[in-house]
Amino acid sequence: MKPSVEASQVSVTLAGVRAVAEVELAAEPGEWLALIGPNGAGKTSLLRALAGLAPVTGTIRLNGLSYAGHQRRELARVVALVPQLPETPPALTVAEYVLLGRTPHIGYLGAERHADRLAAARAIDRLNLRAFIHRELGSLSGGERQRVVLARALAQAAPILLLDEPTSALDLGRQQEALELVDELRRQEGLTVISAMHDLSLAGQYADQLVLLDCGRIVAQGSPHEVLTEATIAACYGAEVRILHDRGAVFVLPTRTVRT
């Protein structure tokens, strides 16, 4: 199958510093790829590069399209981004905010058509937000707001979804809820998901493929079982962990050497 996301020799230089160096990765349609790595490893920079928001050398192909050869608007119909701290204007209603996701499908000075308003309604329904349509974003809880942002990305109707730390602002229950929701959308809508993730156990449970970055370079790449080993995590994170395997999933547990 032709990969829906393909990055080859991708480097990002920000203010003279190499944030991402010669990254090679590919994700199949419908696959969930998680970018992991310590703080400053280049996860966000790589995601921004994939979203066309950072200056890049190398080639990025998203469903066969490239930022060099196609208009930004065309790319926005293929790839949607949920940033780590999305800007949610407090006085916009949920419906208005989700409708903004239709922007790449609307002419520059055009207005939403019936199809756009239906697509937004469908995204709102998919994320169980129908009761919130007229609520202002400022009145929502963190978990509700996260769902609204996902609904906006879903309304964009892009087959590739980029998520930057989608659960960083949520409690344990809301984290699971959000990731289950993403997984469900991925299965039902056939989305390719690329997410930067902090929690290695969650990354190991949800992602098909892990890409471990350190100082902008790929250190390890493969299935959670292959990437999440005590040795690589000790080397990259400088952390002491134990890896547990349970019912096919991999768990990373920070441990402490008890000194006596």
């Binding site: 979203a51 930004r72 800007e87 407090p90 922007t103 329904d125």
Partner: protein, 367 residues
């Protein structure tokens, strides 16, 4: 109760539980009530502007006179030739210019606040006013004979455009893609420099001091149809561009990064909005001098009272800004009659307390 009835009830209950059909959702848009209210306010303000003056002429007579100009209706104007001249040659151009300038400043202010995502942004943010002041002063200082001609608004217009262009080039050359902080600082820098140039010239040639001050203080006195014709095309063009960007301004509220990921070329869009607002504001400043406060309070009043969506803010600011400035001008030319008060004094004196009340009674939620 029959068995069928029971079945029917169950069916209704099931229908209530099942998710209903998908209904399209919409943005709040432009509320009809507010639109008619704002239109009524503008029409009322225009009539007040035409009727009030040292020579009272009834509103109904003016309406009849206006209708008499329409073909096929055979209505005769009740106005004497003198009244007619006062209404159409003295008051009407002044009212028209006030409406145009007020609408322009309010629309440009709302667009600036949207594109810079800054509640303090007004049309003068990037040095329009200081540039216009410098342009006008240069003309008055070096070509005193041209000061009374239409070269004066032209010089002001050129100065304003030069200032904003310099600020934009400076700001966008240092800002990382999308940052607005550097742009605002560049505006402050250029404005300070323009003020220095203007003050230096003015002090060097003190005989022009009064002329320069009269221009800077601004106002609509002596407005003619000629001035209206000079400035109107720029303002209409600018307002049309900004009005057509009202949905885009909503997209910009999610920030540069996310607007970019929604397929918008943020830098180019911001440039287009700034150019449009600058051209219109420069034209307004060129024919009316500096009129503060309108560009700030009118959009914020709409934001607080109606909606934070630019689909409502931009068009309603246009109507209310026009009406507000026409009324402010009526006050400016009547309270000290036959002397005139600078119109900026009126906009601030009445605008500030009104806005304080609006601010006090609304929930401030930012932009």
């Amino acid at each position: 109760m029959s068995i069928e009835g029971g079945h029917a009830e169950t069916a209704i209950e099931l229908a209530a539980l099942a998710p209903g059909p998908l209904e399209p959702v919409g943005a709040r848009g432009l509320p009809a009530l507010w639109t008619f209210g704002a239109l009524g306010f503008l029409i009322g303000a225009l009539l007040v502007g035409l009727t009030v003056g040292p020579f009272p002429i009834g509103a109904w007579a003016i309406v009849e006179a206006a209708v008499s100009h329409l073909p096929l209706l055979h209505v005769h104007s009740p106005l004497t030739p003198l009244q007619s001249a006062i209404v159409w040659q003295v008051r009407a151009p002044r009212v028209a210019l006030g409406g145009l300038v007020g609408a322009m400043l309010a629309v440009a202010g709302s667009a600036y606040q949207g594109t810079f995502r800054n509640p303090l942004a007004d049309p003068y943010l990037l040095g329009v006013s200081e540039g216009a002041g410098a342009g006008a002063t240069i003309l008055i200082a070096f070509f005193p004979s041209a000061a009374g001609t239409e070269l004066l608004p032209l010089a002001a217009f050129v100065g304003a455009v030069v200032a904003v262009t310099a600020a934009y080039l400076l700001g966008s050359s240092v800002a990382r893609a999308g940052g607005t902080g550097a742009l605002i600082l560049a505006g402050v820098t250029v404005a300070a420099f323009m003020t220095a140039v203007q003050t230096f010239l003015q002090q060097r040639q003190t005989q022009t001091l009064q002329q320069v001050y009269a221009w800077i203080l601004g106002g609509l006195s002596g407005a003619t149809w000629h001035e209206v014709a000079l400035a109107a095309p720029w303002m209409v063009l600018s307002a049309a561009v900004l009005l057509s960007h009202r949905r885009i301004l909503d997209v910009l509220t999610v920030g540069d990064e996310e607007a970019g990921s929604l397929g918008l070329n943020v830098k180019r869009t911001r440039l287009l909005i700034v150019v449009a607002a600058t051209v219109g504001t420069s034209a307004a400043v060129a024919v009316s001098g500096l009129i503060g406060f309108v560009g700030i309070i009118v959009p914020h009043t709409v934001r607080l009272l109606v909606s934070s969506s630019y689909r409502a803010i931009v068009p309603l600011s246009l109507l209310i800004g026009a009406g507000f400035l026409v009324l402010a001008d009526v006050i400016a030319r009547t309270v000290l009659s036959p002397a005139e008060l600078p119109i900026g004094v009126v906009t601030a004196f009445f605008g500030a307390p009104f806005f304080a009340i609006v601010l006090r009674h609304s929930r401030w939620v930012g932009l």
